[in-house]
Each structure stands twice: as structure tokens, then as C-alpha cells.
């Protein structure tokens, strides 16, 4: 069911039983809209009829052969038979059962409903003598094929990714969960864009409060247009004054399904291949769906590697600055000598040196994204090599720093979630400033600030760092490592334990208040 929306203009028109009058109204509304087509015709001289539709969003073949043809060719006796007893109901019955070969038909009384349906690609059929308008589904437009997701590649696992059409995305999820428990609820947001948003969850597993909260927050969205899921993310997240993404964004249907099974709610938005999953927690953002497809020892090792990557990408440059500036004694002597030797020709303090290199690296990376794909790769590799090598030889930066910066760069590519990687990329800079000012003490204080901030965050009532803090031992075996399936508690048990340590308790408290 499509929800009623608030249109920009309120139409004073009401549908009449006269086709020409209605058509005149439609023509006023769709003034200067060349893509709206009107087609008037006469059904065997008996009645006037008209079709209104958006060319480009409908299948012309369907209109020609499955709507127009049967109507025009219909036997005129059909309309004369019943004589005086011929009323609106029998007319509707006649059209639905004898004339139109379409599985999706519905009647509407309101002008605004009809306008809305025409705009979303349905065909409106007006007929003389009836106050209602028949809406026929003949949607068809050009779309991208289901393709491999660009941002979340896996070695082992399905290669399907979402694309821009919401109905295809829904079908990708439905194909993986063939159960009536999988619910899809329709909503619309965006004053002008009227973007379709589908909320999906698994009934019986999800906490109903969470679903209600999601609906409430989406219902509150007041914006002209939603062009990407980022709009929705920003408008529904708990704390927008934060660098950290508080929802999970994915292009992979298998990942959405995996999360639905854990009691999460998915938000599918039309015109974007990115689906939002809430609530999103930090450790979940560090997981890749592939962890569950690989052997669990390997997956556990890779997960731990990711934790190191997080620390590396956040701390490595600042540790370098702190150690070379304040705590040289901590570096083993031989290493210190070699670092000092290579730093000898460098005229800058370690902080400036690191800052310049980090900014250069970030620029290269950004340039690599914006350039056309084949060029982009070349620029990042060649640029990195040439600039690194040349800068060292020119004595502008030291070679240990180039190693540090490139290791940081590699570490930041390990993040399975691009959004989280971005947060850490940016956090590196205040970290470096703190290290340059206060050494290790500064790093510690910055880490504390960062941790306090992360601990303050909640995503839809769930603490951001669950299950590490508040600690839930049973949750840890799917965070630090990936336990094998039999040892991960069975479905029913998991649910019970979730209910026991109810993650949504906080949410409830807030609502009761």
C-alpha cells in the first residue's frame, strides 16, 4: 500500500464522471511536462476513455497491446447488454474481468492519488461515466544489471550487489529469505522527490520497539529530496555530531540478510544501491560478510589483524612523531641511529614532515577516486612511488617516515567499512597534533577523549561499543574471533540471551520517560 503523501500543491479538483473535464484538469496540472502523454479514444462509440501516463517509465508495448487493443477491439454488445441495469459496479467488473489483461489494477477516487501514481510510472485509465480512475501497473524503465558490489568485494561469497531500482533490491533480499516472517513495509519521504523507502525486518526475531522507532524517525524526515541513503542516515542517526558512522551501510544482499537474522532492521531506499542497517555498532563495522564464509580460524585471524589495522591507521604516524620528538630513548639504539641518520638531512621537525606526507598521501588517494578508473590506479601507484622516492632523495622527508605513512595507508584500506575508514583517516590528524605537543601523554589523553566519545554514542538505543562495553562475554566470541557455527549459540539460545541482556532496554526507558 502506498502511503498518502503531502504534495506541494493541493489540487482543488475533484474527479468527475466526464472524461474531457478530468483530462482538462490533468492537462492544467501537467502543464509544460512533455513526458506526460494523454491518449483519448472512444470505446465503440459508446463511451469516451483516456489514458494518462509518463512516457519513459512505462512499457509502451504493454499499453499498446494489453490495454489499448482489448479496449478498442472489445465487442460493443458488452456495453449494451445489460441496458438500464448497467451501473458503475458492473462496469468495473466488466473492465477488470473481460477487458484488461493486467494483474495489478486498482481504483482511486482522489485526484492527488492518481497524480502520484502517474508520476511513479503507472497508467491512469479514465472512462466516461465513472467517477473513479483505474490505475494499471505498466512500469518499465532502463536499469543497470545486478552487478558485483564495488565497495565490498569478497573472494568467497555471492557476487551480487544491490542496484538502483528498489524492486530489484527487494527481490534480492527475498530470494535469500523465503519466509513470510520477512516483512517489508513501505514509506515515503522527501517533499518533492517522494522517494520510496522500504523497511525490512524478520518478524519474531526483531524487537518491535526498534521497528517502531525506525518508522518514527523516518516519518519525521522533512527534506525536499532524498538522493542517496546518506540523507536518510544523517536524518535518523542518534548523534550527528560525531565522526563515526552509526549505521551500517552495505551493497551486499547477503550482508543485509545476515543482519536481519540478528534482529536488525534494514532500510532500503529507492535510487541507491546502498542499504542502511540499524542499529550499527563499531565492531560490526569491522566485520566483513566473508568472515562467515571462510574457515573460522582464518576468519578469526583476519579479524584480529583488523584490530591491529585500526590501531595502526590511528596511531602509527603520531607514535612516530612522539617517539622521535620526545621519547627517543624508547627506540632501540641501533634503530635510533638509523632513523637519526636518515633524518639528518631533513630540515623539518617530525610533525611537519609527517603532516606533509599524510596530506600528500590523502590527496593522492582522493585523486585516485575521482579520476577515471584506469588512470586513477596509475596515479595512486606512480604518484605514491615517485613522490615518496623523490621526496626522500631530495631530503625533504626521511625514509622511515615514508614507510610509516605507507603502512598507515595500507592499514586504512583494511577497514571493511569505508565510512569507518574515513573517520579514522580524519582522526589521525588531531592525534598527530597531540603527539607533537605532548608526546605519548598527548596520545593517551586523545585516546581517552576518543574512547569517552565512542562510549557516549548510541545507535538506536544500543551502545556503540557493544559487546565490549557494556561487556557481554557471549557476544565477544563473534567480535574478537569468529567462533565456529556449532559453538555459536543456536538460534533460540541466542535470542534468549539477547532478551536477557536486552540491548533495547535503554531505548524503552527513553520512550517511557
Amino acid at each position: 500500500m502506498v502511503q498518502k503523501i503531502q504534495l506541494e500543491h493541493h489540487y482543488d479538483y475533484i474527479l468527475s464522471s466526464d472524461v474531457s473535464e478530468d483530462l482538462a484538469h490533468f492537462k492544467t496540472i501537467f502543464d509544460n511536462c512533455i513526458d506526460i502523454k494523454f491518449r483519448e479514444f472512444v470505446i465503440h462509440g459508446a463511451r469516451k476513455g483516456a489514458l494518462v501516463f509518463l512516457s519513459g517509465l512505462v512499457n509502451i508495448q504493454t499499453i499498446d497491446f494489453e490495454i489499448m487493443k482489448p479496449l478498442v477491439e472489445s465487442d460493443e454488445r458488452l456495453f449494451q447488454d445489460s441496458g438500464s441495469g448497467f451501473n458503475d459496479d458492473s462496469m468495473k467488473h466488466l473492465i477488470e474481468n473481460r477487458l484488461l489483461f493486467s494483474s495489478q489494477l486498482s481504483w482511486f477516487d482522489e485526484f492527488s492519488d492518481v497524480v502520484e501514481h502517474i508520476l511513479s510510472g503507472n497508467v491512469a485509465f479514465l472512462i466516461d461515466g465513472l467517477k473513479q480512475v483505474l490505475i494499471i501497473n505498466a512500469k518499465h524503465w532502463d536499469k543497470r544489471a545486478v552487478d558485483e558490489p564495488a565497495t565490498e568485494a569478497v573472494i568467497r561469497g555471492p557476487r551480487e550487489g544491490f542496484q538502483e531500482t528498489i524492486s530489484t533490491n527487494i527481490s534480492l533480499i527475498r530470494r535469500r529469505l523465503k519466509t513470510p516472517q520477512l516483512k517489508m513495509e513501505d514509506m515515503i519521504a522527501g517533499r518533492l522527490s517522494n522517494t520510496q523507502i522500504v523497511i525490512t525486518y524478520l518478524d519474531g526475531i526483531v524487537d518491535k520497539k526498534l521497528v517502531d522507532e525506525v518508522k518514527k524517525r523516518i516519518g519525521k524526515i522533512k527534506i525536499d529530496a532524498i538522493l542517496e541513503s546518506g540523507y536518510v542516515e544523517e536524518l535518523i542517526e542518534d548523534n550527528s555530531f560525531s565522526l563515526f558512522p552509526q549505521v551500517l551501510i552495505t551493497e551486499r544482499p547477503d550482508r543485509v540478510v545476515g543482519n536481519l537474522l540478528e534482529g536488525k532492521v534494514g532500510i532500503i531506499i529507492d535510487n541507491t544501491p546502498f542499504v542502511i542497517i540499524v542499529p550499527g555498532t563499531f565492531f560490526q563495522l569491522l566485520q566483513s560478510p566473508e568472515d562467515y564464509y571462510q574457515r573460522y580460524f582464518i576468519a578469526s585471524a583476519i579479524r584480529m589483524l583488523r584490530f591491529f589495522a585500526v590501531l595502526f591507521s590511528l596511531l602509527l604516524p603520531s607514535l612516530y612523531i612522539a617517539l622521535t620528538t620526545y621519547h627517543q630513548e624508547m627506540i632501540p639504539t641501533m634503530l635510533l641511529i638509523s632513523i637519526a641518520a636518515s633524518r639528518e638531512t631533513v630540515p623539518f621537525p617530525a610533525f611537519i614532515e609527517a603532516l606533509v606526507m599524510e596530506i600528500a598521501f590523502e590527496s593522492l588517494r582522493e585523486a585516485g577516486v575521482r579520476l577515471p578508473r584506469p588512470v586513477g590506479q596509475a596515479v595512486s601507484i606512480v604518484g605514491g612511488l615517485v613522490i615518496g622516492q623523490a621526496a626522500v632523495e631530495a631530503g625533504i622527508v626521511s625514509s622511515p617516515l615514508v614507510i610509516v605513512v605507507s603502512m598507515t595507508g595500507i592499514a586504512s584500506f583494511i577497514f571493511p567499512s569505508f565510512q569507518l575508514g574515513l573517520a579514522f583517516r580524519l582522526l589521525r590528524f588531531p592525534m598527530m597534533v597531540a603527539a607533537a605537543t605532548f608526546g605519548l601523554y598527548g596520545i593517551l589523553m586523545m585516546l581517552l577523549l576518543l574512547l569517552i566519545h565512542m562510549l557516549r554514542l548510541h545507535s538506536f538505543g544500543v551502545p556503540y561499543l557493544t559487546p565490549m562495553a557494556p561487556l557481554r562475554i557471549s557476544g565477544l566470541k563473534d567480535v574478537i574471533i569468529r567462533a565456529n557455527w556449532p559453538k555459536q549459540s543456536s538460534h533460540a539460545e541466542e535470542l534468549k540471551s539477547q532478551r536477557y541482556h536486552n540491548p533495547f532496554k535503554r531505548l524503552r526507558q527513553r520512550q517511557n520517560r
Binding site: 620526545y326 621519547h327 630513548e329 624508547m330 632501540p332 639504539t333 605537543t437 605532548f438 608526546g439 605519548l440 601523554y441 598527548g442 593517551l444 589523553m445 581517552l448 577523549l449 574512547l451 569517552i452 566519545h453 562510549l455 557516549r456 551502545p463 561499543l465 565490549m468 562495553a469 557494556p470 561487556l471
Partner: protein, 366 residues
Amino acid sequence: MEIISRHQLLTISIIYQIGTTIIFGFAAGAGRDSWLAVLISTFFGTAVVWIYTRITHFNPGLTYIECYPAQFGKVLGTPIAWMHPLLFLYISGRIVADIKNLVPTTILPGTPPWVILLFFMLVISYGLYSGIEVMGKLTEIILPIILLIYLLEVILIFSSGVVHFDNLAPLLDKGWGRIWEVVWPLGIIQSFGESLALALVWTSMNERKSVGRTMIISSLFAGVFISFTDALAVSVFGEEIFKRATYPMYALIQAISVSDFITQLDATGVIYFCFMAFLKTYIYLFATIRSLQKLTYSKSSRIYIFPVVIIALFLGLTMAPNVVEHIAVVQKVIPYNPIYLSLMFVFPILLFVVSWIRNKISTATS
């Protein structure tokens, strides 16, 4: 009202009770018998902590501060209650002064102390603003990390080949005298008597009944931890150096040297000292703010955060002209100060007895 779990209270108390002793050492006056002195202090200290927990148990729904007016009457109880925030504020000032003395002399020689402290207080204010729940979660994450680093440190010390257990013998060669000297009153005040500030946290816990058990576990754990560290320090340095060192535990980290590669890790020692000091200052300031809020019947405690932090910063900067005096005060003056002794022992015991009797009477009549 923010809620912390049992586990969070445990981690907060462990870190709080181990606290700054991780650098300053504990019961150094007892020389090679210090580990024994620590264990004895732990025994009595745990008893004192147990008394504190019983008091709040007998007065359900009241914070520790509010128990005084409730049991002794407004006239007698209110002044006693008002002394607590002042005491807490003073001690937090002392810890800030510890930072002021330690950090610039060890890892940041050129940086002016006030800048270091300003940054420190800034982070604390953010923590206070975020509330005790966030701090509970923070300790939950950090305690395992600290214990892991500590374990690593112990392994490194052993692999450095500087541990000589002979240094610990002979046990009790100078008799019990010097043990009692450090146990009473300093040993019991340090770590255990100071847990009084934690009493203001207990009301935030979700299972009020297990407060006593949690606190006893944490006191015993902290006691054993400190005792082990003391024994380790003595066996590395021998009695004389251990007694004379300003920061014996800091020196312990300096002793690490594994095949000339892992050496000079002192900065890491200072780092976890800073974290311990951070949490301890946090708890004291939290206790101060909570008491002030209760005593002035204010709805929000946030208005107190800024002034209290500023006062603690000022206290820390002006407390002692140099480190020798600063440490001498903690060893010679504070333990014999009547305010300290009465607030930590005399009044709580009186309060305990009064509450206990009242509780008996009320259960008997009902």
C-alpha cells in the same frame, strides 16, 4: 539516573584501588617486608571497606553523604557531610599535583606543567560531563588492557635477569614494628580508606545487593596485586634502594632490558600512571560533585563540574613547591591528620553502629 553494572563497578574499583600506587609504591617504609605489610593492610582495609558498604546497605536509597544527616540529625550530620566534598576535592588536588610533579620531570621536560594539567582537566571534564556510566564502560575496556601490559612487563622484568628473590629474605628480621608502622594508619588509608569516594558511586549500581561482595573482591584483588608488585620491586632493587626511591615502581620499569633491544620503557609506565591518576581524579571529582548536588538539593550536577574542575586544577598547581615536600606530606602529615582519620574511620564506625542499631530496632518493631 545512570546505571552501572556489577562488572563495571568491579573494574572501576580495581583500577581506583590500585591507582597511583602503581608508580608511588606502597608501604615502602617496611623495606623487604613491605609485601607482607600490604597484605595485612589489605586485610584491615577490606574490613573498613566492608563497613562503608554496610552503611549504605542499612540506608537504602541514600547516598553515603546523606546517611549522616539521616542518622545523626540535621544539626550534627550536615557539617560532617559537608566535610566530605572538601576532603575529596583536596585529595583530587593531590593527584593533580602528582601529575604535575611526575610528567614534566619524566617524559615532557620542556613543557610547562600548567599546559599538561589543563589538557588533563579538559579530558576529565569531558568525562564528568558524560557521566559515570561512560566511565564504567571505559574501565571495562581498559582494565584488561592494563592487566595485559602489566603481565607483559612482569615477563620482561623476569627476562631481563634482574630479579633476585634472595633480596626478600630474611623475613621479619627487624620484627613486626616497622610493619605496623606502615599498616596503621597510612596503609589502611591509602587505597582502602580512600574507597570512601567510591561510596558515592554505589547508588548508581543496578544490583545494590552485590555492592559489598564486589567491593571486597576488588579490594582483595588490588591488595594482592600491589603486594606482588612490591615483592617484585624489592627483589629487583634490594631493600635500601626500594626504600629510598621516590618512584620505586617507575624505577622497576626502567630496570627492564631485554638483549639491549627492549629498553627504557619508562614512558609507558608514566602513561599508565596517567591513566590511573585520570580515573582516580575522576572518581574524586565525581564524588565531590555528587555530594555537592545532594547537599544543596540541586537537580542537576552539571553546574558544579566547571567550578570543581577549576578548583582542583588550582589546588594541584599550588599544592606543594616541590616533589619532596609533596611526598613528605603524604607520608608524615596526612596519616595523622585528625580530619582524615575521623572521616575515614571514626565517623563511619559511629555511623555504622548507629545505623545498625536503628535497623535492628525498626526490624524488631515492624
